[in-house]
Amino acid sequence: MICSQSERVTEAYLSGEIDEPAWRKHLDACPDCSAKLQTESEFDHLVRHAVTSERLQTRQLEAHVRAAMRESITPIRHPILLSWRYGIAAAVALFFVVIATVGYAKGRIERTALCIDAADDHQEEVVAKSPRKWRTENADVRALAQRIVGDPSVPDRIVPAGYHLVGARVCLLHGKRYMHLDYSDGSNEISLFVRHQDPSKSLAAHVLDWFQFPGPSTERVDTFAVGAVQKDKLSLVLVSSAPVPQAEKIVAEAGGRL
């Protein structure tokens, strides 16, 4: 081949990548390039004819492909989409971890403050007998229960076995209004504080309550065993000078009857 252009440009011309007037003009004038182009074009046609004339059955293959597609009907999505979804899932998981951590910490703080307040109230009003106005008449207690916790039968329902009601009054524990019920078995007195949940409280308050009262539990505050439980719409806090296991039992039983 004499022409320096033909070797490199013929394929590009045949594949339609170049169609410059200068090249066409060159083709008309250059017998080398023209002949090469003709030869290559004929050769390609020969190859194309030979390969495409081969009889190939595709019906069965197509059926197999379709069947395999049906089996894997849920295709793998684009990796970017996958990573995007994983990102969302990770963000949601992180959100819940943060909520759980903050909620748990805040719930623990609130609960401890409540228990300390309840122990102080018991010490002051029951043990130290500070002068307070107690309702002792059954009808008064029931009326107070109706007003504070929305159910007049609560004081009778939660009375621990072997105890009787001494009196009831309203008090504030950690800024919230509770009904303070004083029960006695003849020798020991215990305090049960009951509160009706605010029906219009926010979702955050519900979540916080869940962390504050995940289940019946009892802990020691100074010389008292203080237990707490929450069921449905009522919260109950017990303060007793009895040992922790016994206080736990009272809390669990009272919680069961809430």
């Binding site: 070797e7 990548e17 050769f43 020969l46 194309r48 390969v51 894997s72």
Partner: protein, 188 residues
Amino acid sequence: MTARPLRGSILDGGDSRQLQFEQLALVHLRALLRAAVRLARDVSTAEDLVQEAMLRAWRHFDRFQPGTNCKAWLFRIMLNCWSTRHQQIRQEAVQFFPEQYAECSAGERAPASRFSPEEIHNSIDLLNEDYRTVLILFAVEGFSCKEIAEILGVPIGTVMSRLSRARTQVRDDLAKREARYMKAKARL
């Protein structure tokens, strides 16, 4: 290739993604098989290869950008599948024996050509795989050198030189066949 009427969608409900795949990709099944047969030099292996490529394309169809060349995308997938398989085939020591390709008799020759399609197949099959691939993609499937370069991930200059050598080798082989044929005919 133009879209031919669909034989039936994958789902009767006609999921748009599946319909799109059928219309854009499945129509190239024959072209893929044709090239795969020349690449693998065996119909059964070629069918497996095409099926694997089609399923891979189906699974990753979200990666295909509408408006781009779907046929080129499918060929790229198929050639990647072939590269992976080729390693296995080499390990299994499957060899290609050129002598299995018997020369055709004079009566089988195509009237428009000095060579029968089988002779041309045989000559193509004797090519180095790189040359064979480029020749099929260019001469049979109609891809441009630029498209082939993108499919194979090689420079366009490499495509052109492979194509040129492929043509030369096939031509030389056909010339040798013809010489042998003429010699045999003269003896008769």
